[in-house]
Amino acid sequence: MKRVASFMFVLLTSVAAVLVAAALFAIVFFMFTESLRAIREVGWKLFSPNWYPVWELEPEFGVRTMLLNSLILTVWTSVWVWIAGLTVALYLHKYARDREKQVVLRILEYVSGVPSVVFGLFGVLILGDLLLRAGAWTAQNFLNASIVLSILTLPFMTSLTFQSLEKVPSHIVDGAVALGAKDVHVMWVELKYAAPGIVNAMLGVFNRIFGETMIVLMVAGGANVLVRSFLDPVRPLTATLGSEIGEVAVGSLHYSALFFIALLVLSGCLILNVFTNVICRRLERWVKG
């Protein structure tokens, strides 16, 4: 009896775990099968620059402009978040007093939990207004989206970097100091030692900005033109997906093309994941010798 109960218990738990694994494969599978029609009928033209999905004569389903806008916005914003996050984490780790550390980390944690739609509201109603007053010609634009996205992802970068800096064993630092290293050199040694964690955080930030939907949907402006200045309105991949998927006829070519966009976003995320794992493992080997 006891053995049967134990077996049932093991079976039940493994089913739950398998369910999670199955969900990931189901997601990949659905994105692929639903976008198959667009891939077959539109082919390479999916990567053309124009997106006119509801034009009756000659609908066009090109994602190139959106893809480039997504990448430009993500890279530009990530760089700022990386720099700011690293600085804050370094300061907290090296110089801040305990009390300071606690307060900053705690409040950053609050910020990390705030829903992105709330930041979207901030971008549209408050920041947009400020930008207009400062002379921008539209309230929702690249710069606005970039600022709001930075505020959203900064806590993530800071806390992960801080944690990996705190994990650097003290004998490493002491060793460097004993060899006569200056402050800057000590910092360099610590950064090198914490590199796997920091790179992990950096790529995580990149992934989050690339996949973030609500903010770009609300704040980026929604014009499908390649960005030329900071005040241009843009429309990244996820914004198109978020705004059109709810209103499209199920099974149409447009529907399928939207799934192709989702497939692009998903594969970008999965590739980045594999890449992160490989890089972090390499770095760990390099650091630990």
């Binding site: 300061y91 705690r106 409040i107 739609v117 109603l125 976003v265 995320c269 794992n277």
Partner: protein, 267 residues
């Protein structure tokens, strides 16, 4: 060096805090309007209150809780207590991968699978299943650490006393209950704040009744904020501000509680 870092840190920190403060301050006064929490919105959401959105969000949370916590908890037990090490590592990295998949992808998946393939339509049930698909790996990822942190000696001791696997597991759960509770709250907090997945699977801009069955659509706080900001004019914006401010306060409450738990655990 120290001063450069300090100035940059303080500037960045000030901007972040100021953002939060502005959001809370711009919405807080509306809480005191009569009926803000108890009335239906009227006149294109320029008057009245946020009652249906509040109820919609809460209903959704209860459903997500009912689906994802049992499955998540059982799956976590499998990962930490039962699976062989290799399998457990593979499953855990799968869960970590799922965690980094953008939420809109879950939304699109939910739309094609729950709404269309299973013909559940734009409904409470589609939205909650979509959110659960997202929350389960999130919960497992954070809860498994807490189960693993239970010392090995404890497990071995219980087994040595003749306990079954099930009894041993219950003991481990009891030992790690603070941590598991923390992950549970964080999971719900995240599900509460997600917008994109329910925007495409279950939420509508406006309905005249509360959802009475699982196949009814709902109004929720985050999607209403989005709808008001994007579609309605200035006379409705106060409602969106009020809801945003409420969501920030709830978030702060959630994280405050989590931090409190963490501190208790350390002591």
């Amino acid at each position: 060096m120290q001063w450069t870092l300090r100035i940059i840190t303080y500037t960045v920190f000030a901007i972040t805090v100021l953002t939060l403060a502005i959001i809370v301050a711009s919405g807080l006064p509306h809480f005191f309007k009569p009926g803000f929490f108890t009335q239906w919105p009227r006149r294109a959401m320029s008057e009245g209150g946020i009652f249906p959105m509040l109820i919609g969000s809460l209903t959704l949370m209860v459903l997500v809780f009912a689906v994802s916590i049992p499955i998540g908890l059982i799956g976590t037990i499998f990962l930490s207590e039962i699976a062989p090490r290799k399998l457990s590592m593979v499953l855990q990295s799968l869960a970590a991968t799922m965690n980094s998949v953008p939420s809109i992808v879950y939304g699109v998946f939910g739309l094609s699978f729950f709404c269309v393939r299973l013909s559940l339509g734009t409904s409470l049930i589609s939205a909650s299943l979509t959110l659960s698909t997202m929350s389960i790996p999130f919960f497992m990822n954070s809860a498994v650490e807490f189960l693993r942190a239970v010392p090995k000696e404890l497990r071995e001791g219980v087994i040595a006393l003749g306990a079954s696997k099930l009894q041993a597991t219950l003991m481990v759960l009891r030992a790690s209950r603070n941590g598991v509770l923390t992950s549970l709250i964080l999971t719900l907090g995240r599900a509460f704040s997600e917008t994109a997945p329910i925007l495409v699977t279950g939420a509508v801009f406006y309905t005249t009744k509360l959802p009475s069955k699982l196949t009814d659509p709902v109004m929720t706080l985050p999607t209403s904020i989005y709808a008001i900001v994007m579609n309605l004019g200035e006379e409705s914006q106060w409602m969106a501000k009020g809801m945003a401010s409420l969501m920030v306060l709830i978030t702060i409450g959630v994280y405050f509680f989590v931090q409190l738990m963490r501190r208790n655990q350390r002591e």
